[in-house]
Subunit: 218 residues, 2 copies
């Protein structure tokens, strides 16, 4: 059965692939699972029909037969558990990769979301200039720790996993902040993720929604 996901009808990032449907598209491309996309407007996202799928009125969602899921982390984990290629097979390595998925969402991304709020929602507030460096320093702590852990490795575990997928996409939200440039190993890590063919197919598919043209790559 072909799953259906939801994505923004009007991408607020103009096709830069920063919305969370990108994570689900990427996971589906990594495992070679075709999927359908239902585009929703901002108004539709807040209506009852969509809230039945996503109680917080956001994207992405995932529908497959009688299953309806929300939260990109849960959807990627669901895909990873039902296909080969996104999680190690050995039990301990698998649990460890899932821990890193949670770390991407629960430890690394929250200060990044706080920076997004600071720059998007509080940009015109009188405290913006003085407060931004404080918020950025919170992110710097996490990036330093992540960089220390990664060291010279290509991926968080032995080989690419759903943990890297979630982490690379969370880190991409720092583009333009200059913070990622302070850690060349993390900059290279994100580039490594983006260079994967599955990432590129997913990126092109979401970009095509914005441009209105079919994806360039197949």
């Amino acid at each position: 059965m072909t799953p259906t996901i939801t994505a923004f009808a009007q991408s607020p990032d103009r096709g830069r692939g920063l919305a969370r449907d990108m994570r689900v598209r990427w996971a589906l491309e990594e495992v070679g699972q075709p999927y359908e996309v239902r585009l929703v407007t901002f108004a539709e996202m807040k209506e009852a029909a969509h809230r039945a799928r996503h109680p917080f009125g956001q994207i992405p969602t995932y529908e497959e037969g009688g299953l309806v899921l929300f939260e990109s982390g849960a959807i990627v984990l669901h895909i990873a558990e039902r296909h080969v290629g996104l999680l190690p097979e050995e039990a301990n390595a698998r649990a460890r990769a899932i821990a890193w998925m949670f770390a991407a969402l629960g430890t690394v991304e929250p200060p990044i979301l706080e920076l997004q709020n600071a720059t998007l929602l509080e940009r015109d507030k009188p405290w913006s200039d003085e407060r931004l460096p404080i918020v950025k320093d919170r992110i710097r702590v996490r990036l330093g720790e992540l960089s220390d852990h990664l060291g010279q490795d290509d991926w968080l575990g032995d080989g690419f996993s759903a943990a890297d997928l979630m982490m690379v996409h969370a880190l991409r939200r720092l583009e333009g902040s200059g913070l990622l440039d302070e850690h060349p190993s993390l900059f290279a890590y994100v580039a490594r993720g983006q260079a994967r063919p599955a990432y590129q197919r997913a990126f092109d598919a979401q970009l095509a929604v914005f441009t209105g043209r079919a994806p360039i790559r197949g």
Copy 2:
């Protein structure tokens, strides 16, 4: 094999059970799994020995034979997958409960963490009084949506699950903010979680670390 978790040697909340070891203790109590606790000081948390367990130098961690995990969500999911009682058996209901675990950590908790930062780290900043209502309004949006979803139900799914465990503990971090009082159904939901015998055993165990006395309940 008895797992070992880590917790604060000096509880910063003076035994109120708001640290994330509480989530792991609660999960272990729900499934009846005895555990050992290794207490770590703030200094020890940042040393290499602990960072080998937790790259971000935090608690809790979970060790069981050769497995070392971090991130409370990942640890609770690991426990839930290996014992009966914290996740539904039916596949779709199970995936849905896991989605709600991610929602607690990825959608409901981030604005709560932002409020914690605002009240703990930015309390003395000149913008504090004007900014706090903005941060609180972000939480209100999420609480309204969560309350709408919960409706008259006792738990997020059919029966208590790890999703409620994560959500109740995330919501407890709003104590003292007045925000939970605006939604009587959520206030009752948190109280319902706290009334569970497993919660109470876990709470007493973490409180005993602070008081230096043995837990009152067994």
